[in-house]
């Protein structure tokens, strides 16, 4: 299937509205909701097929006009089914942020089933004064079915360009058959890779607050070149990862307010 979802947000009388929506099943968007305040519109991204089958491609195009503030919530984790026909499942996300636009893309979770092959490419074009917040968790598979790193391949790429400058060019390409994932320098004994990207020239967080190593959880923070932070996790404690991601999101809101 070739799912498509294109969303266009603009300002009307200082209020962010969703002006245009184009969708092609299995993708669909909820109507815009004003959960916190009229300046911030929330939209749920829905996927009616229950997951990506081999050969499927889901494409998202999101455009924010100047001064708009948007929060997108994937309704459920992206489940990737086995690639029995040898074709990968793909996801493409393209985002354009105009001046002073702010986009928060809440937790993007990917669960690659055994023998699946997944590839995603997320590319953001933004201005120096626009803001982009992206959360992602990569699962090792359906752990309760005994699937840990039994997929063929799982590749996620996040690319963020702030005008002419490349701020993020992060590709995680996991191929358990070809790589030594168990070494401590790779994933060690951890199963979940999670990332919080805060691309915002004005944001300040305390990196030491997100720097800890325990037997089932590592988190650390790094400054991106003049444009925000990456908080990265390797963990076996999924509830803790989600809790800490929520705390980071809350702390950044507190700074904004």
């Amino acid at each position: 299937m070739e799912g498509q979802l294109a969303l266009y947000f603009t300002l009307r009388q200082q209020k962010t509205i969703m002006k245009d929506v184009y969708y092609q099943p299995p993708l669909k968007a909820s109507r815009g909701l004003y959960v916190h305040n009229p300046d911030d519109i929330s939209v749920y991204l829905m996927e009616s097929s229950g997951g990506l089958v081999a050969g499927d491609t889901n494409s998202f195009d999101v455009k924010l006009d100047s001064g708009t503030t948007v929060t997108l919530h994937p309704q459920a984790a992206t489940k990737v089914y086995p690639a029995y026909n040898g074709k990968p499942s793909k996801q493409q996300v393209r985002v354009e942020l105009a001046e002073k636009a702010s986009l928060t893309w809440k937790r993007e979770e990917v669960i690659p089933f055994a023998e699946s092959d997944f590839s995603s490419h997320t590319i953001i074009n933004m201005k120096c004064d626009s803001k982009f917040y992206w959360e992602e968790i990569l699962y090792p598979g359906r752990e309760k079915r005994g699937e840990t790193f039994t997929f063929h391949g799982c590749q996620t790429q996040l690319e963020v360009w702030m005008e002419d400058d490349c701020i993020v060019y992060d590709q995680l390409s996991l191929h358990p058959d070809k790589q030594n994932l168990k070494h401590a320098g790779v994933l060690g004994n951890y199963h979940y890779i999670a990332s919080v990207w805060l691309i915002d020239q004005d944001i300040r967080i305390d990196p030491e607050a997100w720097n800890e190593t325990t037997t089932d959880h590592i988190v650390s923070t790094t400054r991106l070149r003049n444009a925000g932070y990456l908080v990265r996790f390797l963990s076996n404690d999924l509830p803790r990862v989600k809790r800490e991601m929520d705390q980071i999101a809350e702390s950044t809101k507190a700074v904004e307010n």
Binding site: Q155, V160, D165, C166, I167, V168, Y169, D170, Q171, L172, S173, L174, Q179, N180, L181, H183, A184, G185, V186, L187, G188, Y190, I193, E208, N211, T213, I218, S220, T221, T222, R223, L224, R225, L230, R232, L234
Partner: protein, 241 residues
Amino acid sequence: MKQQNDDLQNLSNTEGISTKFLYLMHIHDSAFPIGSYTHSFGMETFIQSDTIRTKEDLFQFCKMYLHENVAYTDGIFVKESYVTEDMSALIRLDKICDANKNAEETREASAMIGKQFVKAVLPVSETPSLEAWYQLLQDKQVMSHFPIVYGLYAKDLAFDLYTAVLTFLYSSTVGLVHNAVRAIPLGQKAGIEVIHRLIPEMEKATKQVLERSLADLSNHAVGLELASMQHKYLTSRLFIS
């Protein structure tokens, strides 16, 4: 410099090729002032947590560093820099290299070594690409990451791509072994044994890099990246990164 140019133009002369190779050996000498021997790129965090304690630990770490890190990141940047002709494409490559290094200390180390390398080789070599690059560096249009300028240097000196990538992987890995021998500490004999066991791995990794392109970049050595992020919080440090 005249001798150097004569050597370069005399590729069919094996004597010339051997002599030419000395220029490459020279820049990989530990005394060559580019600072690569002051960085551990996150390894020191693993040494302090006792993850690397023995000769075998060090070998396994360097093997991982080679196959899961350098062969998926900097090795590809050396290759891409070597094969890219257009200067605007090279500037874009340097930007991507900068953004690809998430951990701040590793990113700064790579740029610092690259800048020192350009400044060290320019006065003694005729390298038109690096001369143009130096102007961009002065104009602050590039960060000048080491794999990018190394690829340019190797191409200007007419080394083949295989040699360029292999020697880059060699110096990246051997530099870590030398540092580990001091930091763990291990004896010099242990360091020599580790390097000898790593040389066949370097050959394998180089062949893999030659098959790869920018689309194959991967930061899946997440443990190493986290170790590099955490390095600044170690209570005592021998290395800058």
